[in-house]
Amino acid sequence: MNVTLKIWRQKNAQAKGKFNTYPLKDVSPEMSFLEMLDYLNMQLTEQGEEPVAFEHDCREGICGTCGLYINGRPHGPMRNTTTCELHMRSFKDGEIIYIEPWRARAFPIMKDLIVDRSSFERIMRAAGFINTNTGSAPEANSNPVSKIIADKAFDAATCIGCGACVAACKNSSAMLYAAAKIAQYAMIPQGKVEAKDRVDKMVRQMDAEGFGFCSNTYGCEFDCPKGISVDFIALMNREFLSSKACKQKHG
């Protein structure tokens, strides 16, 4: 199949970017989307042009490194699919495909399709952990956790930190990302102890990074490749309200 690519090219963080057009011939429907870009890049390199910079590593949908805004949707047209899992069989022969980086104030573009997601790191560093030291853990089976809760916590924990939720949101909110971690810990006994403090710190950090607020349009859930549920946002909000209340009451 043949496709026409319209790709966002931007030399570096300071430069102004623009779309370049690349007609690409003889694309196999079995190729993954990123293999299609590799194929383009090989041709560009051999012609002495700079290849398109994009990020990826595992190429199997688990590391969260890849993430392209394809035809107006984060990770492209398929639900529950990361960019690297997307295959060309999902596109039509002759199709024009627009490829852009994530766009959000808190994710500045570094080059072409690469954005800086270190704001996500700082949210986790704010309190995305359970305070426990190596060597101090009790025997693993000493605290049973019901299977239902454990499974729910697992569902929340499958966030890969890709940032599609932010890219999908008209307010560039990072609620789904933060809520997934907050909920995972808030549901299990190990994490409950510090739940209030955690939500407080992580939400504050999220604000400080310039992520927007949540206006309940749920674009994030729709485009999240891991299908993280917006229910976790509700859970986070409950935690957050009670934490503030908690603070006011006790000073």
Partner: protein, 639 residues
């Protein structure tokens, strides 16, 4: 000639570690604050080490090439993590885990190290659970386990098919906690390009900032490499595309011995190659073999749809050849058996390079829901890649390069032959012999990082409390940086026509054909020659567009590919000298009448540790003899 001293402590196997630990020297909390440690890598090994060292009060600098530590390739581990908890009351024990690992590794691992890894395995599970890792649980709320290839007990803890991700996020959270406390400083998007040695000790590293292109000098009192495996030497592998040998290789070039480089595991169950531009093979976890049955048609070149091949015309060749273990034979055995059937013309699919993995019976017996619970995400992954729904028809699978048992040689303290340079996780060679059992790597990486290294490194650092800060304006730092700079300039100046990946792909094919699942002396020699030829072409015809003072992914790749030529040659060298078959290393010349691996314990029960002698110079081999005092060394049979 360097003397290899593995420093294995005296005493009964079960007491070695606990006794030895009490003899290790300590560093006081006040002094720890003055000591800096570099940890390169933030996978399970690196993240656990960095956080544990941070908790102890050392000043840690951690490095990774991705944008976030959470993306290390540990994240991709699927099946599980082993521990000797014996929760299933199936008569498991530390000894049995130790024994299975030694046997699984075909008697080419060190007893003392393996026993210790098994010993700390239970602590690892406790710790991850405390960190909130959502391992699977049964209805009573207790942790669930499942069984894995090469063993007859159920000791594998898991989180659906995402165990690596969940453990890594646990380790990442403990790392974040230390970053927040200021004990660990995180350097993401850095490529380690050289090791710096000052007066015989590892004192720092040279990194390239992958955003600005700048070269940076970082110093410390000890350096820990946790840089993962180099299975990407085959180009097509189950690893992340950034996985590399370069960090370990730079240490090797500076004097660290490299052990058993050719021991590289080919995993039996990956999705086969589907197109010519493919650069990655996706693993389908070994745990699938718990419920999936492996088969091919009894008829050569059978092009029928798998669901049209009736039961009696199917050859369940693993069950046929290995009745005791059936579909759960270890990886090396399963991979070779698949290759054997395909080479003989019985393979499935257009290429004939795949076999079926069938869940029909399991779905009938347990119901779709139960299978979905266990493997849901793997089935989805399979469907996304192939467009085929494995609930309705069997998966097609084929072996793929996966895990490097070989790596930097380390002693019992996990220190390499360079004082002050430690290697942990997949980057070292120590625990898996010639073949790694499933779910043993996450166990080893976490054990190394959380519970072993933090003790042994203290003993080394006890001599460093008076050293003071290590300045980076010393000559060795300047020289190392200069050498890296010149190397990069050399790359940029080639101005040829071909991309780094195109070379990598050809290199990988040479390695797969000549130093892959089956090897022979002639093919290995040929492999070396082909590598030499391709390397010459590489240095003439490589093209790296752009410049080196910005994000330049082609340069990043080229730096890695250049090292793979050398790694590849050493793998061939190592495979040539080992005139026996053991574990993943199968020499055509050394097999039994039934085509099983034929070990030669009399002559080859040793670790081959190689010393670098210069580019294209013949390396020196050092032998560390392996002594088996606690297991009877036997032919490895799964029949």
């Amino acid at each position: 000639m360097q003397q290899l001293n593995s420093k294995i402590p005296e005493g009964p196997l079960a007491d070695k570690w606990s006794r030895y630990k009490t003899s290790l020297r300590l560093v006081s909390p006040a002094n720890k604050k003055k000591l800096e440690i570099i940890v390169v890598g933030t996978g399970l090994a690196g993240a656990s080490a960095a956080s544990a060292l941070g908790e102890l009060g050392y000043k840690v600098k951690a490095f990774c090439f991705q944008d976030s530590p959470r993306r290390a390739h540990s994240v991709a581990a699927q099946g599980g993590i082993n521990a000797a908890k014996n929760y299933k009351n199936d008569n498991d024990s530390i000894y049995r885990l130790f024994f299975d690992t030694i046997k699984g590794g075909d008697y080419r691992a060190r007893e003392a190290n393996v026993y210790r890894a098994a010993e700390v395995s239970n602590l690892v599970i406790d710790h991850y659970t405390a960190l909130g890792v959502p391992f699977a649980r049964d209805y009573g709320g207790a942790l669930d386990t499942r069984s894995f290839g090469g063993v007859q007990v159920s000791r594998t803890f898991y989180a659906k098919g995402q165990t690596g991700q969940q453990c890594l996020l646990g380790a990442y959270s403990s790392l974040n906690r230390q970053i927040a406390k200021g004990t660990v400083k995180m350097f993401s998007r850095r490529d380690m390009l050289d090791l710096v040695i000052v007066e015989g000790k590892a004192r720092g590293i040279i990194t390239r900032n992958l955003v600005s292109g700048e070269l940076e000098r970082h110093s410390a009192h000890a350096v820990v490499l946790a840089t993962g495996g180099y299975g990407t030497v085959f180009y097509l592998s189950t690893l992340g595309l950034g996985s590399n040998a370069s960090a370990a290789w730079s240490a090797h070039k500076k004097g660290a011995l490299f052990a058993n480089p050719s021991f590289i595991q080919i995993h039996p169950t990956s999705i086969p190659v589907l197109n010519d531009y493919q650069c990655k093979l996706t693993l389908m976890s070994e745990s699938l073999r718990n419920d999936g049955r492996v088969w091919v048609s009894k008829e050569k070149g059978d092009k029928r749809h798998p669901t049209e091949i009736p039961e009696e015309e199917r050859d369940y060749y693993l069950e046929r050849r290995y009745p005791a273990f059936g579909n759960l034979v270890p990886r090396d055995v399963a991979s070779r058996a698949a290759k054997e059937r395909c080479d003989a013309g019985y393979g499935a699919g257009d290429s004939g390079l795949s076999v079926y993995l069938d869940f029909k019976e399991a779905i009938e017996a347990q119901g779709k829901k139960a299978i979905q619970d266990k493997y849901g995400n793997l089935f989805e992954m399979y469907e996304k890649i192939t467009g085929i729904n494995p609930y309705n028809q069997p998966m097609r699978i084929y072996p793929a390069g996966h895990y490097t048992m070989g790596g930097l040689w380390v002693d019992y303290n996990l220190m390499t032959t360079i004082p002050g340079l430690f290697a942990i996780g997949e980057s070292n060679f120590s625990d898996h012999g010639a073949n790694r059992l499933g779910a043993n790597s996450l166990m080893q990486c976490s054990g190394d990082g959380y519970f072993i290294l933090p003790n042994t490194i203290g003993d080394y650092l006890a001599d460093e409390i008076r050293t003071g800060k290590i300045p980076t304006d010393q000559q060795p730092f300047k020289e190392a940086e200069k050498a890296v700079k010149e190397k990069i300039q050399k790359f940029m100046a080639i101005g040829g026509r071909k991309s780094a990946s195109s070379f990598h792909k050809r290199l990988g094919k040479i390695m797969w054909d000549h130093c892959g699942m089956r090897r022979d002396a002639e093919g290995l020699k040929k492999g070396k020659e082909l590598l030499n030829e391709l390397e010459e072409e590489f240095w003439k015809d490589l093209r790296i567009p752009g410049n080196d003072r910005e994000i330049n992914q082609e340069l990043e790749k080229a730096l890695k590919v250049a090292d793979f030529f050398e790694v590849g040659r050493l793998m061939c060298e190592d495979a040539i000298q080992r005139e026996e078959s053991c574990g993943a290393h199968f020499r055509e010349e050394h097999q039994t009448e039934t085509g099983e691996a034929k070990r030669d314990d009399k002559n080859f029960a040793y670790v081959a540790a190689w010393e670098y002698k210069g580019h294209r110079e013949k390396p020196d081999m050092h032998k560390e003899p392996l002594r088996f005092e606690h297991v009877e060394i036997k032919e490895r049979s799964y029949k």
